[in-house]
């Protein structure tokens, strides 16, 4: 051998004893850099998170379904002018000013707190008098009902004027910017602007706010300088009002299963919106005192349209395409539900969101480097945890449980801080487990049993999925069957406890970043878990290739056998050695040590 390989005494293929080459620290650092580059590549250029976002979003939808409070839903109503209503009302598109005026007059009878009109009155219409509309708007104001009109997006973008036509009394309404954010892949629209753009501050008074922010600001105590782009949590609670007149039937459990396997879990979406809705026919029909008390009086009304070939649709991760007015209603709902702790979206530059994404990637990489074959220094350090007194361990566990309990019981804006403690303890526990957990080859009996168990879990999951989906919907099926099924498979069949523990920690980190005071939107945990698995597989393949290389080097040690010079071979030895994980050094406590090669 012309040059030995690994400084710390690693053995390769039982024969090459090395005394030079990269140390364990250098190898760990090199692997860290490689994984960081791979992560940056996958998350930014290849867009692993974009490809996996439907799965992550489906899980988020399922969690939201059972955790989203009804605060905003109870106080929001959409009044929809549908395509079919045109014929019934002997109306044509675009709807006349007189008809809009009539609808606003009808609304006034129901005494809402505020009305947002999602129709932009920009151009003068020959033969139509705008005065009835202006009068209807002013009549609402006279009744102390706040009115907001959609401004021309181009004019609102300049922040100078609302761009609306003459003849509307500006003293009776507030103009708002109805600009919609771009869609995010298959998930649809996930963010909501506070004003013109994310770069510009929304503080100047001449800057028009978007409807949700403008309407909710006073209610939740949001100052002009505090408004930032929102990550919308698309609530998917059941609306009894909507179910009373809409067709809310879903595709069925087998269709869901087929679509989930064929495309993704977002291929089948909900048919009924979360926001309470009535149509203009309900409003213009006989006056309904029950409807007034139950759904309109004191609520904020979003009056919008749903017309064929008119654009103005919003794609969401939860529902089939909805009329655009629902986007504003949902954003308003979020503001009422979360208050000042509404979820902040990703921003340009070094935002908190990007920092958390970077930390999650860093966290995943550290786990990757430490879980399967931890280097000796990590084993030494983490092995010492085993020597800690059981009393201290129990005390630590009690602190963690107390923090989780406090988070669940006490209403505090510092939930994330409390949850950080058990999360950090969890990280240490997983690393300790990784450093001390011995890997065992399964016996023939265990191998057979694992195969049988795997088949059983798959069959049970399919049956349960169909049953739960049919009874409680696809969200429950995903949350209660698919996710636990996969975890059970990984824990019992693949016996990959570290994967399960790592995933739980990533989920914990995502929860912490979601809660106050961090208040970020849901993280794409599926993408991080996928990265964890892909990188883990790549590292194993790289190590296998390294072993094959050194086996060949052992069999054919002469440089001429390789067709390169001795110095080149020496460099190659060094480079290949970088892919060796772990080492043979034992910990202080020899029992916990683990051989690598």
């Amino acid at each position: 051998m012309s040059s030995p390989l690994v400084q710390d005494g690693s053995m390769v293929r039982d024969s090459i004893v090395v005394s030079q080459g990269p140390s364990a620290t250098v190898r760990t650092l090199a692997q860290f850099v490689f994984l960081a580059c791979l992560g940056a590549l996958l998350f930014n250029l290849h867009g692993i998170s974009l490809h996996l976002s439907p799965w992550s979003q489906a899980i988020v939808n399922a969690i939201v379904k059972y955790t989203y409070k009804p605060t905003g839903q109870d106080r929001t109503l959409v009044v929809l002018f549908r395509e079919e209503n045109l014929a019934t009302l002997k109306e044509s598109y675009p709807i006349s000013y007189a008809r809009h005026a009539e609808i606003l007059e009808a609304l006034a009878l129901y005494e809402p707190a505020a009305v947002f009109v999602d129709f932009a009155f920009i151009d003068a219409r020959p033969g139509q008098d705008v005065r009835p509309l202006s009068d209807a708007i002013c009549a609402l104001k006279a009744q102390h009902i706040r009115v907001y009109l959609a401004a021309s997006p181009i004019a609102a973008g300049r922040g100078v004027t609302d761009g609306l036509r003459d003849g509307l009394d500006r003293g009776c309404f507030t103009a708002v910017n109805v600009q919609m954010d771009a869609e995010s892949g298959a998930s649809g629209v996930l963010t909501y602007l506070a004003c013109r753009s994310v770069e510009a501050s929304c503080a100047p008074r001449e800057m028009l706010w978007t409807p949700a922010f403008q309407m909710a600001a006073a209610e939740v105590g949001l100052g002009r300088g505090d408004a930032e782009q929102m990550e919308i949590i698309w609530g998917n609670r059941v609306s009894k009002l909507n179910e009373s007149w809409m067709d809310c039937t879903t595709d069925g459990a087998f269709a869901h299963l087929r679509q989930m396997v064929k495309e993704n879990p977002l291929a089948s979406k909900r048919k009924c919106p979360h926001t309470n809705t009535i149509s203009v026919l309900h409003l213009l029909g006989p006056f309904d005192q029950g409807l007034k008390d139950r759904a309109v009086k004191g609520r904020t009304v979003f009056y919008g349209g749903s017309f064929e070939m008119a654009g103005d649709r919003v794609i969401s991760p939860v529902f089939d395409d909805l009329p655009g007015v629902y986007l504003h209603a949902m954003a308003y709902d979020n503001l009422l539900t979360f208050g000042k702790d509404y979820k902040r979206a990703e921003q340009h530059g070094l935002s908190l969101s990007r920092v958390v994404n970077g930390l999650l990637l860093l966290f995943t990489i550290v786990l990757l480097l430490l879980v399967d074959k931890p280097p000796a220094f990590a084993r030494r350090m983490l092995g010492r945890i085993g020597a800690i007194s059981p009393r201290i361990k129990w005390l630590t566990l009690a602190v963690a449980v107390l923090c989780v309990a406090l988070t669940a019981i006490v209403r505090t804006s510092l939930l994330a801080i409390l949850l950080l403690v058990p999360l950090l303890i969890g990280v240490v526990a997983v690393l300790h487990l990784a450093a001390t957990h011995p890997e065992r080859e399964p016996t023939a009996r265990q191998f057979l049993w694992s195969g049988f168990l795997g088949g059983l879990i798959l069959a049970g999951a399919v049956l349960l999925f169909v049953g739960v989906d049919a009874r409680y919907g696809i969200e429950a099926a995903l949350l209660l069957v698919v996710l636990p099924g996969y975890f059970v498979y990984k824990a019992l069949v693949a016996r990959d406890v570290l994967f399960v523990a790592t995933t739980v920690l990533l989920v914990g980190a995502a929860v912490v970043s979601f809660l106050p005071p961090i208040n970020l939107g849901p993280r794409n945990i599926v993408a991080y878990v996928a990265f964890f698995e892909v990188a883990r597989h790549l590292m194993k393949r790289a190590e296998d290739a390294t072993r094959r290389y050194f086996a060949l080097r052992h069999e054919q040690p002469a440089p001429e056998d390789w067709g390169v010079g001795a110095s080149v071979l020496s460099v190659m030895d060094w480079i290949f050695a970088l892919f060796i994980r772990g080492d043979e050094e034992g910990t202080d406590d020899g029992r916990t040590g683990r051989a690598v090669a």
Partner: protein, 130 residues
């Protein structure tokens, strides 16, 4: 406990009764006793271009002002004036007895859905030949 045949007969009878009730209501008159707003618009022959304002004073002169339902929609009531039939928006008037809606016109509506993708918007090409 009846068999399927008995249930079918019951269903048919109930349906007939409901239809008959609806038809009877469409014909049955009631009176408009007040306006919910100071001024409403009534439309001659339900033509939206032929709207005329109608005030509480006008109503006082006509009381009792008989009205009938529109058989096709719950949005309008039909009323008679000197020169013919007019329709008035149901929400805008008070009646002497509740006027039930036989069936919500919006029943089983789909609000969320995936509209067909088109390469045009409303009005493209309209009036180009003029």
């Amino acid at each position: 406990m009846g068999g399927p045949g008995v249930r079918w007969r019951e269903a048919i009878v109930v349906a007939l009764l409901l239809t008959a009730t609806g038809a009877a209501w469409a014909e049955e008159a009631f009176n408009v006793i007040g306006l919910r707003m100071s001024k409403v618009t009534v439309y001659k022959d339900c033509n939206m271009d032929k709207g005329i304002p109608f005030t509480r004073e006008d109503l006082d002169k006509r009381k009792p002002w008989r009205a009938t339902r529109d058989s096709s929609t719950a949005v309008y009531y039909w009323v008679k004036m000197d020169d013919g039939n007019y329709c008035v928006k149901a929400f805008a008037v008070e009646t002497d007895k509740p006027v039930p809606v036989v069936k919500d016109e919006e029943c089983h509506t789909r609000v969320a859905g995936r509209p067909l993708k088109t390469g045009a918007v409303r009005g493209v090409g309209e009036g180009c030949s003029q």
